[in-house]
């Protein structure tokens, strides 16, 4: 079951493509000319992970969808400002997403470190009760453990594992060196494990 799930996720990642794939430059060139096809590819390649990232930041699927819409609007309007040194197209889009979530929290007058209130309807797992239970349990622990981390540790976890970005891209977004990101990632994983065990989760092998 678990193997099946892993394979599914791997194919999903492959389908969505990597942020800094070599044809990003060509895509951007066409996107600047408002080419529909180029934008369709960009959308399909980056939307899933951007949505996940925003979702884990705001904890509400409808808000995440709304913010994602706003994100692509901004991308269309500002694509002429994109520079390749901004961490590639993925990094540039993620930075927009990050700013949108900050704006969202500012509007709500809440802080990004507030506990996530995940709308877990999508965790139902379909018809498989075992999978549904597993999802609920692990996600619950994970969510609560994430809240215990420092903002930087949480950011690196979300960008690295949820948005599935490369170390260099995360470094570009967070304004740190790749070496610093690796060290931060190390500390964040250690802290996460500690927090989950502290919460009573023993599923980590």
């Amino acid at each position: 079951m678990q193997i099946l799930l892993l394979a599914l996720q791997a194919s999903l990642r492959e389908q969505s493509g990597r942020a800094s794939s070599p044809d990003d430059a060509a895509l951007v060139k066409r996107a600047r000319k408002l080419d529909d096809e180029a934008w369709r590819i960009i959308f399909e390649r980056h939307y899933p992970r951007l949505y996940s990232y925003i979702y884990y930041r705001v904890g509400d699927a409808s808000v995440a969808e709304d913010l994602c819409g706003e994100l692509f609007e901004k991308a269309v309007k500002n694509i002429h400002r994109f520079k390749s040194r901004d961490g590639g197209l993925a990094g540039w889009l993620t930075r927009i997403a990050q700013n949108l979530t900050y704006d969202y929290y500012r509007r709500r007058k809440a802080r990004p470190s507030d506990p996530l209130e995940l709308n877990e309807s999508w965790l139902s797992g379909g018809d498989d009760p075992d999978r549904s239970l597993l999802n609920r349990e692990s996600t619950d622990y994970l969510r609560r453990a994430l809240q215990k981390l420092t903002p930087e540790q949480r950011d690196v976890i979300l960008l690295r594992f949820i948005a599935q970005m490369r170390t260099s891209e995360v470094a570009s977004i967070m304004g740190k060196t790749p070496g610093a990101i690796k060290a931060l990632q190390h500390r964040a994983l250690a802290a996460l494990r500690r927090e989950m065990e502290a919460l009573g989760y023993h599923g980590l092998i």
Binding site: Q9, L12, L34, W39, T139
Partner: protein, 448 residues
């Protein structure tokens, strides 16, 4: 050896790529939560709303106008509103640049002249202003050349502006005389080449301009046109002093100049110089005429004049010899009248007779002085020999004048006079007599 952080990052990357990771003990504790994170179900993203909003944004961008239509909306800073001032600036620069090539009669020509007027305001020093006037003259000349080359009529105004520019340049004090002279010479050659191509109604005006230019350049003998007043004077004067015996000239000019006869006498020499610059000034010279009557003795002077350096002897002595001097001075308009007198002078009687006419003028001896002034300024270098010589002779031989009357034929006397001429080294005077006229001042500087 890779650090622990590097090895952990590498293992995570392989895990994310779906590869099998052989975990060491030290990594296992950290890779477990990483795997948990990666296995966390990803929410099925509802794409519809986001995709619709992106498409709407794309459509809005395309509607943004011309730049969007051209596919340029993506270029940074290319917003029509921002571009208006930039485009206006570019258009202005283009018009200004194009106007440089405009010719009289074209719609950009007024722009060209306006620009020139504005540019003049940036010339603060007299030297810069003079240089700019010379540049403007050059532009007008180029325009005339281009017009004639393309078979289009040359407006009289352009030629007038050319003359005006040179007049302004020459009237500014403190200009580098050499550069002015060089430019004048260069432009005079171009104008000379252009002359045949000019319409007949402009020929005279162009010749005047050429003459003035050559005078400015210090090449007055090259002047092709005899028409101008100066030439007339030349012919008259030269006759007497220069080549043969002045006799021929005198009779001819005698009558007309009579009006200002006095001048004829001495003035002639002086005139020559002055004439180069400004014909009008020369007129004053007449005063010297007084001495003219005695001129008889002068007649000899002519011959010497060539060898001698310029000598603007003071009024007194000068009077006598003047006659010869005439030869050199030819240029001066007034001379004509003088020459005649001279001829007369030779004859003893004439002195008396001549005196009458000239006398009036002489009395004004004071005016005399002025004459000398003319001489110096203009062509100190060239004329000197001729004009001055005569005078010199005068001084020494004033007495002779009396006698000379008989000598009627100046020609003979000349030889003797020649010898004398040298004596009159009074030259200094000329220099003193600086003209007030700015043009003459410039010439004087040129000569220096």
């Amino acid at each position: 050896m890779a650090s622990f952080d590097d090895r952990l990052d590498d293992a995570i990357n392989r895990m994310m790529a779906g590869q099998d990771v052989s975990e060491s003990d030290e990594l296992r504790d950290l890779l477990a939560p990483a795997r948990q994170l990666l296995e966390t179900p990803v929410p099925a993203p509802p794409q519809r709303t986001a995709r619709l909003r992106m498409n709407a944004a794309l459509a809005a961008q395309r509607r943004r106008g011309l730049w969007g239509w051209l596919g340029l909306s993506g270029l940074p800073g290319l917003r029509p509103r921002r571009l208006i001032p930039a485009m206006a600036l570019v258009a202005t620069i283009v018009v200004l640049l194009l106007s440089n090539f405009a010719l009289p009669g074209q719609w950009l020509y007024p722009v060209k002249q306006g620009t020139e007027a504005v540019m003049f305001l940036f010339r603060r020093t007299p030297a810069a202003q003079a240089a700019y006037y010379v540049q403007l003259a050059d532009r007008r000349l180029t325009e005339m050349e281009r017009l004639t080359a393309t078979g289009r009529p040359v407006p009289a105004r352009t030629l007038a502006q050319f003359q005006q520019a040179w007049a302004e340049a020459a009237s500014i004090p403190g200009v580098d005389p050499q550069s002015l002279q060089r430019s004048a010479f260069e432009q005079s050659r171009r104008l000379q080449d252009l002359l045949p191509a000019l319409p007949t109604d402009l020929q005279n005006q162009a010749k005047d301009a050429l003459d003035a230019l050559l005078r400015l350049a210090g090449v007055d003998f090259l002047t092709p046109t005899p028409t101008p007043t100066p030439t007339a004077a030349l012919t008259s004067t030269p006759a007497p002093g220069v080549t043969p015996s002045p006799t021929p000239t005198p009779p001819q000019q005698g009558p007309p100049p009579e009006s200002s006869p006095a001048h004829t006498m001495t003035p002639t020499p002086v005139v020559t110089v002055t004439s180069v610059f400004s014909a009008p000034t020369s007129t004053p010279t007449p005063t010297s005429a007084d001495s003219a009557p005695p001129t008889p003795g002068a007649s000899p002077a002519p011959s010497p004049s060539p060898d001698l350096p310029p000598f603007p002897t003071p009024t007194p002595a000068s009077t006598p010899t003047p006659t010869r001097t005439p030869t050199p001075t030819p240029t001066a308009t007034p001379h004509p009248s003088e020459t005649p007198h001279e001829t007369e002078t030779p004859e003893p009687t004439p002195t008396s007779s001549s005196t009458p006419a000239p006398t009036p003028t002489r009395t004004p001896h004071p005016s005399h002085t002025p004459e000398p002034s003319h001489t110096p300024t203009p062509t100190p270098t060239r004329t000197p020999t001729r004009t001055h010589t005569p005078r010199a002779t005068h001084t020494p031989e004033p007495t002779e004048t009396a006698e000379p009357t008989e000598t009627p034929h100046p020609t003979e006397t000349p030889d003797d006079d020649k010898t004398k001429t040298p004596e009159p080294t009074h030259t200094p005077k000329p220099s003193e007599t600086p003209d007030n006229d700015s043009a003459s001042v410039i010439f004087f500087m040129l000569m220096a």
